[in-house]
Amino acid sequence: MAIFEYAPAPETTKAPIREQYGLFIDGKWTAPRSGQYFETVNPATEETLARVAYAGDEDVDRAVRAARKAYDKYWRKMRPADRAKYIYRIARGITERSRELAVLETMDGGKPIKESRDFDIPLSAAHFFYYAGWADKLEWAMRAGEQAQPIGVAGQIVPWNFPLLMAAWKLAPALACGNTIVLKPAETTPLTALALAQIAAEADLPPGVLNVVTGDGATGATLVGHEDVDKIAFTGSTEVGKAIQRSVAGSGKRLTLELGGKAAHIVFADAPMDQAIEGIVNGIYFNQGHVCCAGSRLLVEESVHEQIVVRLTDRLQTLRLGNPLDKNTDVGAINSKMQLEKIKELVSSGIDEGATLVQQSCELPERGYFYPASFFTNVQQSHRIAREEIFGPVLSILTFRTPEEAVEKANNTPYGLSAGIWTDKGSKNMYIAQYLRAGVVWCNTFNQFDPSSPFGGYRESGFGREGGVHGLREYLAH
């Protein structure tokens, strides 16, 4: 009998959600010329949250024109210290409304409230604070002979896994450098970007400096193809990233891509074992595995494979899956029905290919899109579940015998966004890290982020960096 079962602890803050949202263009909320709206759904309940304007070609064009006008009229000419004031104001606006934004993010995207509250929203504010400080110090980001100049109008397309945070990563450095923006949030998670537009409006950001156009892939493609856009920044799937790169080829547009990943998470036999388990759990079950840098390919030294499987199996049972708004929920809802189907399809391919599936035993809520925390043992490098990005709470466990083999297997992927290493030996950590082809390598930790630290990929994980001075340079003509 349960003697200390956690009672429901739902977050009680209410997020104001309008019935219908227009497009945020030139500082005003406007009806879409397309005349169309689409619905955004709470993936934990399958209930419609709001109707959101669909930006067609003409709407995207209006947004780009507004951004161009604002660029020429105010933003590029503004004293950098004054630009900083606006960015600081946005940062404070996020902080002041942090709880409300966390609830909104959780309702629209399905992630646990403890993550949106403790990770997404505070880190979003931190990016604005960080880059606000850069606005009047841009020459320090320059190399000898370079002049700090903005690029112009930036088209920014963000994904559904960290909707506000990914917008913040892109908006903050772009604004600090004096660019104006047309932001296209993901189709399934537009609400926090729209809330951010409202915060920007309340911060008196000059009209047109930030425009938000909601829509689907076609909206994004129109933005990418618009001739008056100078820079495209995209975070999303490798497939779409490749299409974007093809489309901008020869146009002179600057491009940064942050794409998929299949991160190797290496655990050596001398690792601090219980903390490694926490690292593994954080690496793959954080945000239901909807993380491009997720530690989805676990490489464990053969001699500790068995004990890791035992420990991880036990740990899975303590994960609490359910209502994302409950403060004790560890695993929330899968972002969309489509994504849930994709996860299911890849898991069944793993079973067909002969891997062994272990899942947390829990009842899934009757409504909503949920998938239990899972991992596969007996996975081989050739299996689809070892090569393709699942983007769900599903880990593939492989083994290695020597450090060389660990490095070889870790690098044997078309991706290269992140990697993790667990060993109690500092020298081994440093030694292995230098051979991993990944943009970020975490040693005895995972999923650590800071605005001052650059993030980005190798090979099919994209190019360009976000965060830090590196992220700043992506928004400067030099």
Partner: protein
């Protein structure tokens, strides 16, 4: 060889367990559980017969006007006061625990420590809270520490006498050392491993409790024998107590949430638990004077 512990990730894990939201029915259940698992303690130079009798009365009936509140698990006292506590608690289910082995420093000969223990047992102590020799542990004489625990366990005689081994984690200097001392005490036959004496600057902490739970979990997995955890020192608030329950539940499992396998050594904590309990029942905080002191 003990597994190593990474401090940064351990503290992050302990921090996330401390953020569990414990409300309403869970809080009421947790408060009762914390009281039922409490070793109500007085370990001061000025302890007297009167003081111990008064504490024993409270141990038995923590709040007479709240009949659903259970009695505590045990009282924890100095060895010379065991006869007083035994007399006060005769015929009840509240156990008498005696500190032993030259508590709190543990710096005496083995003969003195054994004599200390035998005297407490002879006076009727149901449980012995011994300290390890931290000096020996920190200078690498693990065997000596181990042998001493085995000797005290033998002196306890009947297996019904529970031996709690105090590691004094605040003096061990690292989580690696906490883990190693935990493994050593468990192998030597400790029925409980206990964090602290309450007599040094740093007492029980959440990361230390997590580490000790992990040692117990791995030991039980290896041997099949279930050992318990006692957190002691500095546990003063209901919120802290709830976090320790969360740590036990999520590291060892709910079956460890019993006085046989979990104890909280505390004194003033009881009053805060009672105040929070009444608040959950009535919706109001009562002042301290509405609860018997001691």
């Amino acid at each position: 060889m003990s597994v190593t512990v990474d401090a940064v990730m351990l503290e992050a894990r302990a921090g996330s367990l401390a953020k569990r939201s414990i409300k309403t029915t869970t809080k009421v259940a947790g408060i009762k559980l914390a009281i039922a698992c409490m070793d109500l303690t007085t370990l001061e130079g000025k302890d007297s017969e009167g003081r111990v009798r008064s504490m024993c009365a409270k141990a038995l009936h923590p709040a007479p006007h709240l009949p659903d509140v259970p009695h505590v698990a045990a009282v924890c006292i100095y060895p010379n006061l065991v006869p007083v506590a035994k007399d006060a608690l005769r015929g009840t289910a509240v156990k008498v625990a005696s500190v032993s082995t030259a508590f709190p420093s543990g710096l005496s000969s083995l003969e003195v420590k054994i004599a200390d223990t035998l005297e407490a047992i002879a006076a009727g102590a149901d449980e012995i809270d011994m300290v390890i020799d931290r000096g020996a542990f920190l200078s690498g004489h693990y065997r000596a520490v181990y042998d001493e625990i085995v000797a005290v366990k033998t002196a306890c005689g009947s297996p019904s006498v529970k031996l709690k081994v105090i590691l004094e984690t605040g003096e061990l200097g690292s989580y690696d050392a906490v883990r190693r001392a935990s493994d050593l005490a468990l192998e030597a036959g400790a029925d409980f491993i206990k964090t602290s004496t309450g007599k040094v600057g740093t007492n029980a902490t959440f990361p230390v409790a997590v580490t000790m739970c992990e040692a117990i979990r791995d030991y039980t997995r290896r041997t099949g024998r279930r050992a318990g955890l006692k957190v002691a020192g500095g546990v003063r608030t209901t919120k802290q107590a709830m976090t320790y329950l969360v740590i036990i539940k999520e590291t060892l499992g709910e079956s460890w949430l019993t006085p046989d396998l979990f104890r909280i050594g505390a004194s003033s904590l009881l009053d805060d638990l009672l105040m929070q309990y009444e608040k959950e029942l009535t919706g109001h905080y009562a002042g301290r004077d509405y609860f018997p002191m001691d």
